[in-house]
């Protein structure tokens, strides 16, 4: 299929997933605060800082706001158009990508992303503040609906595979960041208090980590009530059945990449396949002890970087304006991606003329 169309499908899907994940984080944080306030009655900005850290652009936030609070962080992550990762920015970009390929997506898909966009245009910060639960539920539902519509109205061909790759790469990336930040927040606090697992406050926070990934109920089915860090990490990173775990998502992305390229186990066709295959293979033989041996933070950081590389290779192999047969697969030479297919200057401009003297 046309590279441009594949690229737009990819990014439409990726931005949608990103918006949904942001809504989840915010939603859980509100719940967490409600629960915690019953115990401590203190608003701890650390929880809000954590959210900004997950999306890792602290500098930009600091340049726009003076302090961390429910109000500022919500505004930044939901409404601020200067934040390219805010919910409103993500859905705008998802819609723009969808519109540029409107003939390639089903009319229901377009209707769904368009409706969500218009809904967001009409929502006020006040409304979100008064009833965050309804708002975030709306975003999550819209995302689920979009995925369901896509699954049922979009032929499961190459285009659909690109949609899946984008979704699962984004999901994996988001979970890794969330675990990284939350774990260390909780760990540093616990160290301050001298005991890793103690008190209802910690249990609540650990459960919050699971809730952010919509994993609490599924986790309980496996680990019953043994809510401890080891089990949580095992579940979120290594579980192969839960759709929001890292291992599952990496496998799903790999399957989609293989369907496109025709690769299979032990036989990769391009670098994107090679990198994801390597990642998936390692994950399938990793135990929690291996993760601790490396250090959780390093492990997750390494994982995130590897995912970035996979994304780059997908871009170079399938979307980039230099196609592999002409170009060495060197990301340095490829033109930077701007997040909207066609956002690069991909039109011609004139060379200068020499005046005749």
């Amino acid at each position: 299929m046309l590279s441009r169309v594949a690229e737009s499908l990819f990014w439409m899907s990726r931005y949608f997933e990103r918006a949904e994940n942001t809504a989840r984080f915010l939603d859980v944080n509100f719940n967490l605060l409600l629960d915690l306030n019953k115990i401590t009655h203190v608003e701890n900005p650390n929880y809000w800082i954590a959210l900004i850290l997950v999306t890792s652009d602290k500098e930009r936030f600091n340049s726009l706001y003076e302090s961390y609070s429910a109000h500022t962080v919500t505004d930044y992550l939901v409404f601020n158009k200067n934040n390219p990762n805010s919910i409103i920015s993500c859905i705008s970009l998802a819609r723009e990508n969808g519109r540029s390929i409107i003939e390639s997506i089903s009319s229901e898909m377009w209707e769904q992303v368009n409706n969500l966009y218009h809904y967001l245009q009409g929502v006020t910060p006040q409304f979100v503040h008064n009833d965050p639960y309804s708002f975030y539920k709306e975003i999550k539902n819209a995302s689920h609906l979009f995925q369901g519509i896509t699954d049922n109205t979009f032929s499961h061909n190459e285009g659909w595979d690109f949609i899946q790759i984008a979704k699962y790469l984004e999901r994996t990336d988001n979970i890794a960041r969330l675990i990284d930040v939350k774990y260390h927040m909780l760990l540093s606090e616990a160290q301050n208090q001298g005991d890793i697992i103690a008190g209802s406050e910690d249990i609540i926070q650990w459960m919050a980590v699971l809730k952010s990934c919509s994993a609490l109920e599924a986790f309980r089915k496996v680990y019953l009530s043994k809510v401890d860090p080891d089990n949580i990490l095992r579940f979120l990173i290594l579980d192969r059945s839960f759709p929001r775990s890292i291992n599952f998502s990496v496998c799903a992305a790999e399957d989609a990449l293989w369907r496109i390229s025709g690769s299979s186990r032990h036989r990769y066709v391009n670098n994107a396949d090679r990198l994801i295959g390597k990642l998936e293979a390692e994950l399938s033989y990793t135990a929690i002890e291996d993760i601790y041996a490396k250090g959780l933070h390093h492990y997750l950081e390494d994982l995130e970087q590897r995912l970035v590389k996979v994304g780059e290779q997908v871009h170079l192999t399938y979307f980039a304006y230099h196609t592999p047969e002409i170009e060495p697969l060197d990301i340095e030479e490829a033109l930077p991606f701007t997040g909207v297919a066609g956002g690069r200057p991909n039109w011609s401009q004139a060379q200068q003329h020499q005046q005749q003297q």
Partner: protein, 482 residues
């Protein structure tokens, strides 16, 4: 007759009415239609309007550009009363069009090669050389089969006596064929009984015929030519048609940014790498096709396309440079062109035309501005026009100045009373509205014409302007076998 037609005032003394020969006396080929409409109540009409609207809405047939605020997308106005053309009339139109398109193609071939018609002074050379659409870059290039105008649409009108005349030739990206196809689908759903009563020639195979034509005109070296449609993109008002045709033909819809010319061959960028393409049905005007050779800041084309075409590695439909022949000034020479290349008199005649660039004609035009329709020769779509009988003295004086300043740019024609066809106002009463006809002609190994075409109707009361961009609508057109 029927609640609708009983009150229909055909004004037969002033206009040729397509349905009524004289008041109360319809033309025979409309008998069955009138009979059927006689059975309809207002509610019946309303119900059929709903069916049609739902169909169009589901198809996404709108003509609003996808603007910034995604405003209301309006349905293309469609009138429920079909226009019926009996087979014997169509036979003449068909013969006339084939003759005309064949001659115009010869003309283009000549203009871009030895220019005999200019050397024989049949047409003043400065009209060609001075035309902004004459593309010197294309002189000497040999398109496959010698065909330049693969997809054309000549607009046909009827005068007060019912004679079919050609109003204008459209040799560059004529649009509207998707409306023609969708109108037929809509009518089939809304009036199934009528489709039983009449033997209507089918048009549904147009996309297949178009594809066949495009494949026939591919580079001679390519066995199974790879065809694509080139569109300016989603912001173009005819985008719906581009994507519709691409889908119906089963070919890729591309934009300039999907294409690249490498070593004189044209490729699309796909997820599997570069894929060579052989035929481009391009809905992009010449000037924007190739930033290397034409407008350098065009974002719609691809650099090097003309050179690849010159080399014979790709064919464009239509060829480059056809605009020189659908100029309104050249239009006035078409009867001479037909005579020169085919040795025949035109089967379909032109509307009488005066050229401002001719000194005698210019005198006549300036003296008769109040009764003539003066048009700018280089624009299309009905702008840049003076409709004499409807204009003020001031407007006439202003126009006179413009004509004298650039005579080459203006032509004049008498005000033709276009034929009228009963059309619904608010789906409750019938008015006579002016119509024209745009048949679609395909020129591959042979010339193929879709029976009928798009009937455009000026829905604003008393208006003569049928273009969609200025308040026009359309009707389904039936060529019926008797």
């Amino acid at each position: 007759m029927s609640r609708f037609f009983d009150h229909y005032n055909a004004e037969c003394s002033h206009f040729f009415d397509e349905v009524m020969a004289t008041a109360g006396s319809p033309r025979h080929h409309y008998d069955k239609m009138l009979q059927r409409f006689g059975q309809f109540s207002l509610d019946d009409i309303k119900a059929r309007r709903e069916i049609v609207n739902i169909f169009f809405r589901n198809q996404g047939i709108t003509f609003t550009v996808y603007g910034e605020d995604d405003g209301v997308e309006r349905l293309f106005p469609f009138d429920l009363i079909p226009r019926i053309v009996p087979a014997h009339e169509w036979a003449t139109i068909e013969k006339g069009l084939i003759q005309r398109i064949t001659a115009l193609n010869e003309f283009l071939n000549d203009i871009y090669h030895s220019q005999k018609i200019l050397k024989d002074k049949v047409i003043p050379a400065e009209l060609i050389l001075g035309s902004q659409h004459f593309r010197r870059e294309f002189v000497g290039v040999n398109p496959p089969l010698g065909i330049y105008i693969h997809v054309t649409g000549s607009d046909i009108i009827r005068d007060r006596h019912g004679n079919y005349l050609v109003l204008e030739d459209n040799l560059r990206t004529p649009s509207g064929v998707s409306y023609m196809l969708q109108n037929r689908q809509a009518m089939k759903r809304a009036f199934p009984v009528l489709f039983d009563k009449y033997k209507i020639r089918p048009i549904e195979n147009y996309p297949q015929e178009l594809l066949r034509t495009l494949q026939e005109i591919g580079p001679t070296s390519r066995r199974d030519p790879n065809v694509v449609v080139l569109t300016p993109g989603i912001y173009n008002s005819a985008y719906f048609e581009h994507s519709f045709l691409a889908r119906q033909m089963g070919v890729e819809l591309t934009e300039g940014k999907d294409l690249v010319v490498h070593n004189n061959k044209v490729y699309t960028r796909t997820t599997r790498g570069l894929e060579q393409i052989d035929v481009i049905y391009r809905r992009v005007d010449d000037a924007y096709l190739d930033p290397l050779v034409f407008l350098p800041d065009s974002k719609l084309g691809v650099a090097g396309l003309v050179n690849a075409y010159r080399k014979g590695n790709v064919t464009l439909a239509n060829a480059i440079g056809c605009g020189v022949a659908d100029d309104k000034v050249i239009y006035s020479f078409v009867p001479k062109i037909i005579k020169y290349y085919l040795g025949e008199d035109p089967i379909l005649e032109n509307v009488p035309t005066w050229l401002a660039s001719n000194p005698d004609d210019l005198k006549y035009i300036l003296a008769n501005l109040s009764t003539l329709v003066v048009k700018a020769a280089n624009e299309s779509g009905g702008y840049g026009m003076l409709i004499g009988p409807e204009s003020t003295i001031e407007e006439q004086e202003q126009f006179a100045e413009m004509i004298v300043a650039h005579p080459r740019n203006y032509i004049a024609q008498p005000t033709i009373s276009l034929s009228r066809h009963p059309s619904f106002f608010n789906d409750t009463e019938l008015w006579g509205c002016h119509i024209d006809l745009r048949p679609y002609v395909l020129y591959g190994k042979t010339v193929t014409i879709v029976p009928g075409g798009l009937t455009r109707v000026a829905l604003k009361r008393g208006s003569l302007v049928v273009n969609s961009s200025q308040g026009g609508g359309s009707k389904d057109t039936w060529v019926v076998d008797e």
